[in-house]
Point group: C2
Amino acid sequence: MSTHPTGRNAALADVQPAGPEPAVAAPAASHRVAAFLREAILSGEIAPGERIRQEDVAERIGGSRLPVREAVRMLEAEGLIEYETNKGARVPVLGMREVDLIYQMRERLEPLALIESIPRLTDAHFDELGDIQAQIEQGVDVASFLQLDRRFHLLTYSLCEFDALTSMVIRLWNATQHHRRMFMALIGSGQRWVVNAEHNLLLESLRRRDAVDAERYLQGHIRRTRIELSRHPEVFDRT
Amino acid sequence: MSTHPTGRNAALADVQPAGPEPAVAAPAASHRVAAFLREAILSGEIAPGERIRQEDVAERIGGSRLPVREAVRMLEAEGLIEYETNKGARVPVLGMREVDLIYQMRERLEPLALIESIPRLTDAHFDELGDIQAQIEQGVDVASFLQLDRRFHLLTYSLCEFDALTSMVIRLWNATQHHRRMFMALIGSGQRWVVNAEHNLLLESLRRRDAVDAERYLQGHIRRTRIELSRHPEVFDRT
DNA sequence: TTGAGAGATATTGGATCCATTGGAGGCTTC
DNA sequence: GAAGCCTCCAATGGATCCAATATCTCTCAA
């Protein structure tokens, strides 16, 4: 197992193993609540369309409603929840066209993050990426695949040092997390060899530090997934 | 004077003349505070690096600190302010590389918004765009130019109905507002004929509904501005 | 049976209070 | 005179209270 490369980007901390704890101030409670809600939404514990009651969250967190309110405002600005005055927050229900557009945004933005990251990637990163890909190829279950795939891609962007870009990329991933899970559960591991081929081609071009090839493979990877998704409208069924 | 086209996108409401007031709920105070702060930052009233004290804002708004705190969280998530726990909020100071990257993000995202918008644009929009461009060509001052230029571009995106995209575009504009103002003040109206040419080419391709040409002109317009900006490092001097 | 309306309940919006933290300024000490 | 420490003040973090709004429910009448 390779040593874990050190990340530079705070927004990508979740794909970076926690090194020795840096002397950074503890985040305010509102940030912890936001992280808690983010996780609950991404894991599917809170489903799209479901309402989020501030008091419930406050109780589960063990605090007052105030940090929850701040967290809700943050997630609202992130686009992870919808908010109506006096009516509260709920997880948005995205249709196919919206998800398709988010994938188009990813097609355009993620290559940029990759290009910024490539020159700084180290052998340790390539080893780690290889390890992740090896795990994926062992045929893991859907939940593990989603986690490893996310980790794989975000790791390739991890040395892009621009928070405005990396946080945007993460938000786009987050916004479609639910649909990705539905989609993978639907197709199972059927087409997973395509993903493996694409990941390996991408990784190979990264090792060569060939930004042109890497951008092409990455964009194709996202684009193919987008088109595949559009062929499965049942993913967007609101039942 | 053309009638003002009706916009569909809430995020672009600021470039759409306010029609008959829709029966929409009054925004919560936190949103009004956020709009107030946004305007203060974009206008330069609050300069980059300057600290924002919650009590001051609450006093100017005539409310308590609570809505201000929520607004600060929103603007933090928007990237318009930086926040440190227990230390408060301040307007970030962006360096040349960061602004350059934001322009690269714009190069990739704004054509997407334009492509989505083009099929729905009406003659009324083209007339309005022509009016704006005519005003620009009369040689207005820097402040008016910035306002008209913003209005011109955002109007071309106004019929893109995806909030995730349009709000992102607006945030990218907002993030570099200060540098755009510095830059324009620096070069005066010297190179403005280039902008005029680009705007007219873009507008012409829009009238033809030629998405390919429009995307090319728009991307070139942003890219040229980015490179021009990179030739004026004095815009980023922190004095 | 169903629809409308009034009242009850639940939830969010805002203000105020107190605790905690950061920082400025003065003081001591070497 | 400068570095380090301590104290005080200012600003933020969080909890609780009350008001305003929305939502649910029960009743009553068509």
